[in-house]
Symmetry: C2
Subunit: 216 residues, 2 copies
Amino acid sequence: MREKTWLTVLFVVFMWFAFSYGQEMQAISLPKPQTSGGKPLMETLSLRKSAREFSSEELPLQTLSNLLWAAFGINRPESGKRTAPSAVNWQEIDIYVATSSGVYLYDAKTNQLKPVVSGDQRSAFGRQSFVRTAPVVLAYVADFSRMGKASPGDKEFYSAVDTGFISQNVYLFCASAGLNTVVLGIVDRNTLATTLGLKPEQKIILTQPVGYPPKR
Amino acid sequence: MREKTWLTVLFVVFMWFAFSYGQEMQAISLPKPQTSGGKPLMETLSLRKSAREFSSEELPLQTLSNLLWAAFGINRPESGKRTAPSAVNWQEIDIYVATSSGVYLYDAKTNQLKPVVSGDQRSAFGRQSFVRTAPVVLAYVADFSRMGKASPGDKEFYSAVDTGFISQNVYLFCASAGLNTVVLGIVDRNTLATTLGLKPEQKIILTQPVGYPPKR
């Protein structure tokens, strides 16, 4: 009887892991980004703003693909260069993407979201309640190991500037696509680093929720 | 005879000062920026790149006005908010504008270039020779005194990120308008601070030349 109970518990635990793993931990192939269209640049700049309210409505996968390409996608496939510059072309910033189902890493080369951790982790991406409402929350994470022989101070400085370039692309994409967004500097970086399983040489720079404006 | 020579020298020196001052040190009122038009955002992002070659051809004043408005102009006059975000809305980044005739400070509120120092100072804005060819070289300068009670580390961090937002706007404006640009991190900041007459609480973040591609 006892043995049977234990076997049942083991079976349930096994199935739970298998199910979670099977359900959550698959790479998502994004649709090809639409690299033309959008509002004219000067109108987009006119509409650029920070907004802290979000509908929980999901973003279509095509919109998410366009957003990530705009942020830091490859715009010159022959050289692998990106929509935002980076010091010495280090390309040291990674974009983590949190949704209600898990956290993924944007792979610009394969245009995929690679699984990082399952489950709704959005609350680790910022202190404000709207971070848990926005359907997508980005985290910009620098990998200092890609920054060569730069001094620690230079790594801090350039990873901050390089994140600004990318984050502004997100702002402008949102302005063009009718989405709300705001960049967040006050983040519990230790908690989020643990959630994402970061290496010591990875540093969380900023986070940025994205979503539709709330319905009126 | 000697007295007459001295009087002549004094007169020439006086006229030179009067002429230089009169010629160089006046504020330039920029034409109203054109806040609509430009290439569609996604095409602009497709064209975003760093380019290190410049024609010495001057930018029309309208283009310069559009460029500076795109960079960090006021896009919501009712609140004074800007085309790029800044931490806590400190708006701590100033844009200095070097041309062959002098250096000016962009005043977004009055849409003017305020005189800072006369003469061609572009060589102080970067080490590469193309910095002396580009008709316009921007310098992004943080005024830490506007950043409230932030810690020194936070002032460094946020002023770097906030410059990234602005610099990306310049990149995208250039991509839309057919201009070349590249952001520069290696700048002799002490020399440039002296040239600009900066206060100790002002920090030069980056510089960015802008101009037409060289004629082929």
